[in-house]
Symmetry: D2
Amino acid sequence: MSRTMLAAVLHGVQDLRVEERPVPELVPGTVLLRVRRGGICGSDVHYFEEGRVGSFVVTAPFVLGHEISGEVAAVASGVKAPVTGQRVVVNPARQCGHCDYCRAGRGNLCRNLKMLGSASTRPPTDGGFAEYLCVGAEQCFAMPPQMDDGLGAMIEPFAVALQALARAGSVASRSVIVSGGGPIGLLTVVAARAFGATTVALSDPVAERRQLALRVGADAALDPRADSFAADVAALTEDGFDVLFEASGSAVALRQAFELVRRGGTIVQIGSFSEPEIALPMGQLLVRELQLVGSFRYGNVWPQAIRLAASGRVKLQPLISGVFPLRQAREALELACVRGGAVKVQLDLT
Amino acid sequence: MSRTMLAAVLHGVQDLRVEERPVPELVPGTVLLRVRRGGICGSDVHYFEEGRVGSFVVTAPFVLGHEISGEVAAVASGVKAPVTGQRVVVNPARQCGHCDYCRAGRGNLCRNLKMLGSASTRPPTDGGFAEYLCVGAEQCFAMPPQMDDGLGAMIEPFAVALQALARAGSVASRSVIVSGGGPIGLLTVVAARAFGATTVALSDPVAERRQLALRVGADAALDPRADSFAADVAALTEDGFDVLFEASGSAVALRQAFELVRRGGTIVQIGSFSEPEIALPMGQLLVRELQLVGSFRYGNVWPQAIRLAASGRVKLQPLISGVFPLRQAREALELACVRGGAVKVQLDLT
Amino acid sequence: MSRTMLAAVLHGVQDLRVEERPVPELVPGTVLLRVRRGGICGSDVHYFEEGRVGSFVVTAPFVLGHEISGEVAAVASGVKAPVTGQRVVVNPARQCGHCDYCRAGRGNLCRNLKMLGSASTRPPTDGGFAEYLCVGAEQCFAMPPQMDDGLGAMIEPFAVALQALARAGSVASRSVIVSGGGPIGLLTVVAARAFGATTVALSDPVAERRQLALRVGADAALDPRADSFAADVAALTEDGFDVLFEASGSAVALRQAFELVRRGGTIVQIGSFSEPEIALPMGQLLVRELQLVGSFRYGNVWPQAIRLAASGRVKLQPLISGVFPLRQAREALELACVRGGAVKVQLDLT
Amino acid sequence: MSRTMLAAVLHGVQDLRVEERPVPELVPGTVLLRVRRGGICGSDVHYFEEGRVGSFVVTAPFVLGHEISGEVAAVASGVKAPVTGQRVVVNPARQCGHCDYCRAGRGNLCRNLKMLGSASTRPPTDGGFAEYLCVGAEQCFAMPPQMDDGLGAMIEPFAVALQALARAGSVASRSVIVSGGGPIGLLTVVAARAFGATTVALSDPVAERRQLALRVGADAALDPRADSFAADVAALTEDGFDVLFEASGSAVALRQAFELVRRGGTIVQIGSFSEPEIALPMGQLLVRELQLVGSFRYGNVWPQAIRLAASGRVKLQPLISGVFPLRQAREALELACVRGGAVKVQLDLT
């Protein structure tokens, strides 16, 4: 293996360079991956466009990317699994396994979490838009033979959706609406359909996203700005949805959510807001006994995400709207920036 | 039994009259109670002071009161329980038992609910500040012999607190803080202590309420306006409370709640807000995976409220700060209006 | 409407007579149904073959049948829903709506439950294998237009399956095996598939049932008596199923269940045993932290059963293996008695 | 620190020797404890009396003991917590933190679990009845200042009881009976009382245990062999207990459990059975929708066990019936063998 590798390094706002970097060294407990596919996430886009994601500011150059599939190139001594040559998907959040949150099965809230491709640390932590990546052995999950590299790199955002489903409680036989048809919202549509929701609707002002929602299994796709919206909702559900997944990060959408769910209903917040505070009709929450639930990344859902994606019962492939070679990482990011244009853009690093 | 009875009738803002009213007639499925004790709720105070509670406006005179204990004076034919002479507490919310919410064990969200002493209907529905009251047989719960009338009339607000506990999930071994030391907040302190919370704190700016919280079982009572507040909290919990019950209806308190709970923590909203919307830090809900949960009245908690109150393991009596005869209903309501003065004021109707 | 009607009346062991009976009278709160389709349940078979179901012994002639769809012929005064002419399915278990079990959302355990077509009362309670049937208004659930009478009469056994699913907790992304491919077992396969189980297997020694399981959505159908059984299981799941539904009522199958589930796994018992006691490997339950859960009839699952059956996403029709006119009720029961022959036999009463 | 230490080593049936052993070496990630107190568990007694616990057979000499409190004597480099000089209690089950069970919050079912003082491995794994013990840093939980060594060594069995409570779901406002008044049963009484059970009863034929149950908080202590048993139960609960904890490992007690719980009730199995199979009335489980739940060791309950024991709200000290110096380990074990005699016997290793 070569001593240097190519990587997509963010140096500042709009300043992404594909350049030589040293191949990371194996440390105890880790494996070295030959990265094969990397998906571009909204946070990659935010880092690229604005140099920050919320309170995380880019203070030094770092490699972007945390939606990764790859092949094991080498393993540290003592590591039993995965083995060299195995194809794996990567959980980019390394949890300690022993803090109180980890012990309680809530490793996404781990006190000692380290996230790939993130400026949450100082210096930032390099990600996976690079030929090689060193990760903890326990961050790797074996890919079934029938799962291709592109689908493998979709597991991370799918895990975000499955975490939201887990936070909602069972959706079996329930009516569900998703507000916001970006990648996470569409993957939530897919998951709600797979988990037995009786009605699955998407709400998004962008026509392309509504069409895609119908392709991946939604019963209905509504335009929240259309005059017919209230009537469209009434045609789907007598007195409101059981569960609403708010995946748009729009304050208007969240406020509307309080009217769209039925008494006792659940709103799961997945999308990030740019505003620090959102004004909400708390009287509704009270007298209708609603619950408003946050969902953050992915708890313990990786094996199920892989099994479900590999089962052939869900359609994730239509969400991959473009694949670029690593050398064109900048173009890929620019495409991903166009809201309502592409859905999921990936980098091919093979 | 007499054909007329005395009742405390609200005719308009600040216009409460104790006057003669016809004794209600028994209809099938009901019992006639000789009311013995009636507690004054915050909603009685709102009707009296402002002529409304939220969107419920007093449009015609009606009898106030829904925290009631009494003795069965007569039963409609076919009613097997309760029996004449039995002392009972009354669930003032009559649920149909057969709609989808009732069937799901969420009778507090019943589609056909009727509430005593409420202007939510037109005309308003009479309540129990009267010598006689006619209620559904299934609204009555037998009082154990050791429970006196005053404690019986505390079961309704205690049921509100127990519903909030039920909405929180188990608090056993968890740290709890209650914001707002009115009757419901203090009863929530009592319930959280009884249900095994390791730490139970109250937060309220009023010193008398803090003292009362300590008397009924709180480990600590904090002044949220004190400079030492942050340090006081830190002394109680390393990284935040597991559960916060917001019983004050204060926007400031609810915003603060997002900082007081730990990652994965739960905020249960019990208090009503006067503002239509409250600005909330939704980013916290998201990245710390909080849940914000509404709690409305009382679901299926009446038998447990009675058992617990009668067990001698909880102290509800210190919360009764005054008892007035029916003829002084006006004076009782005026006392109840003084925030931070009395806690629970009751009417003796015997 | 005529004053008498035809009904299938069980007079004793193997003594079923189709004879004239008076049309039932409307009492307050009820509706009179013109029955259209009635499915034959295992308990009908037991009453017919043995004159008893467990401890319930036939002490007087009664009308069999509790899997019923029909059309409303008349409603008692004051009943608002359903309305005359509406097609409905019937929940044959009338729950009181007000006992502690009903209030807790567990109406299937109602203290005052009355069951159609059952010898659990003295005298027995007539069922629905008759031209007319009088039931509580709240026992009726409207049939969607696209649901035919036969499918309507499948809702009752489907509700049994959905109750078992509800008792299991969420099966989304989990591996499931059903032991016993009678109607309830097959409907459980259908439901587990619809609710997002990753793997759904059936285990039954009868080849026809295994084939039917594959038709209605099972991934695999195993013969528990085959030499290859252990290997077949290992091919489906690395270390055991998450959930096993025991629908055969076979002691051997239940004992085997303890080996088929993984650590922390759940066994849901649906099938009835003829033996009073079953010897079970409790050490397994302990050190592997299993749970063994009973499921009885149908709690609060009727609306979801109807929605799911009407959605077109599940296949219940292949399970109807024969339809007979009421006059041939005896022949229908005899066919239903043949284990491994027919699955669901129905009577057409139109 | 000395190179050798004293330890209580089991060489075979009834062959316990207090002898010199090398002090264990620090390996990465571990700490060396100076053991201060060690409690004798039922499994220590079984190893001593019978040379085995279930399928775990003593094949080589090993140090007994897994209920341990101690002081940190040294820490491996890189270990941040605990620190030298700190007093800690030890979770004797070392879980990997990264398998699917650990990630799901069920570390007690960890695929890679290693247990102190156990013959489940070959050779057996040494335990803590020794002056020094080397354990993983993450197995140590800090002792609050007010917790003495004896109480610290009670945390392990208390954690077993708290796990059983966790498996039962919330017991707040519920009625509870514990069958079997050994240490675990009595600690379960303590925990159920602390967590808000309305009624807590113990059932045990041994009078001393019943008296002790009353001392530590039971409302009632019943003799299951007394003629008055059914009447005693009826005086406590109208129609059965909500939850029964079976801590005796007696087949008779478990069968009786099915009659003692109410419809929908829960039986938690904690005690081990000597018989491979137990005959159970499964019809009861079915028609009354019971659940029978295994509880194994301690999941994620250590911090709460420590907080609760240190809170002063529970009484664990009365359960310590004898403390012996390490040199008298044999006498201590012999005392612990006398059923109905001592409750918890501890070794003082200071």
